[in-house]
């Protein structure tokens, strides 16, 4: 550990700070995409027309049933080989990662959203209908606020997983935290120091994410909707 602090300060931290931004630029859009897909697909699976709901079930099984690394390889290496007419879709490493993480995360998110929607008792929908609320008002004032609260702990956990599995982007050449760390470790031969600091960066990211989620949960907490996470 000779000169650890000066090595960390001079070499590791500047390199990782660049990687950190890349990671954040990856995680935030992928998380948003995941939540958007999760809400849409979850809603279709519960309320949508049957064929579309079955199609969405298939999507979820596929993305939950295959390794994320394989999915990333597909988006980055395999997709360009699939020609539709004359067009082949080539994604940059960054876009392949965002699409890959977003689609995978969306599959899991839709499970939590679906659970949240299913937890709303049918009777409440009938009560809303009986009061003269329109279907749209029922969804916005009755269904969504409850489904969101029920789904929040699961969706939050999924975002925390996403922070960590974003490190897989480095295997398709994205210079994120992990990618930058690996280059530096290779060139400096100081694997221990580098990867300890990389780990600490992820720990910090996860801690911040968990803290923000906890605040949101607390803000939305009402009797009967206490989160059952312990």
């Amino acid at each position: 550990m000779d000169g650890f602090f000066s090595f960390a300060l001079d070499r590791i931290i500047p390199a990782l700070d660049a990687g950190l931004w890349t990671s954040i630029l990856l995680i935030v859009p992928a998380a948003l995409l995941g939540v958007f897909i999760g809400v849409s697909v979850g809603a279709v699976r519960v309320y949508g027309p049957r064929p579309l709901a079955r199609f969405c079930d298939g999507y979820v099984s596929l993305f939950r049933g295959t390794p994320l690394v394989v999915q990333l390889y597909f988006w980055y290496f395999a997709l360009p080989n699939i020609q539709i007419g004359d067009v082949a879709l080539v994604l940059s490493p960054m876009w392949a990662s965002i699409v890959g993480f977003g689609l995978c995360s969306g599959a899991y998110q839709s499970e939590y959203i679906r659970g949240g929607l299913l937890s709303i008792k049918r009777g409440q929908l009938r009560a809303a209908q009986a009061l003269g609320l329109t279907p749209l008002q029922t969804i916005s004032s009755i269904v969504m606020p409850q489904a969101f609260r029920r789904a929040l702990p699961g969706c939050g956990n999924e975002i925390i997983y996403l922070v960590k599995y974003s490190s897989l982007a480095s295997i398709i050449t994205v210079n994120d935290l992990t990618g930058m760390g690996r280059s530096l470790a290779k060139s400096s031969f100081r694997n221990t120091e580098v990867f300890v600091v990389v780990g600490l960066y992820y720990l910090a990211l996860v801690t911040v994410a968990a803290f923000v989620l906890r605040i949101v949960e607390k803000k939305l907490e009402i009797p009967g909707f206490e989160s059952k996470r312990d």
Partner: protein, 262 residues
Amino acid sequence: MDDPVILRVENVVKTIGGQRILDDVSLSVKKGRLKVLIGPSGAGKSTLLACINFLSPPDSGTISLDGVPVNGKSKKELLALRQQVGMIFQDFNLFDHLSTLDNVRVALVKVKGLDKRAATNRAMEELARVGLADKAALYPAQLSGGQKQRVSVARALAMDPKVLLLDEPTSALDPELIGEVLTVIRDLADEGMTMVMATHQISFSASLADEFLFMEKGRIVERGTPTTLLARDSGSRTQSFCAKLSELAGDGHCELAPPSGA
């Protein structure tokens, strides 16, 4: 005796999965009266009530409110109908994520378009009426069953309904909580609210009802005043059904409750 008819149900038929759940049901309710639906479970009482406000649209037949037939194909007419017909459910169906106050207020704001302040005032009035003004800030999870049902009554009343439909309002309650809900219903009847109620509380409703309708297999098989149908020697279905119920409950009587008794 010549009060206007508020609600008229004519020849309603409802089929679910090839089965006739309602078979040519007709009734009419005059202003300020209470009609009581009695009958075994599965007779079609809940379905009939749900047909009246089109939560479960009838296959054929007519529902008229204040003499105007409802066009079930018009979404606008249905929303208007539902504003004027309140409904109380067996299992309360309060909105779990809203406080007691907001449960009553939400439709006042969203459906009636009241501003927040007017809605609050109105909601607090209705909560006071059912004796729950001090529970305005609590959530459904913090209320007893009886309190929940009283909130649901306040929620329906706040919309100024012309008719109130009650589907076994006390059947999901523990015995010691039934009384507080029945008291609210009695007050409503005394104040002249027009109501149709499905219930097994026969001796309670006998003192308030203008007519008993006994349903079985989707038909109204017997109808008449409580006094006539419950007379010991009437030989009516209602009388024997009531006798069976009270035998099961072990309270050993099935007759007209004295007007002041609970």
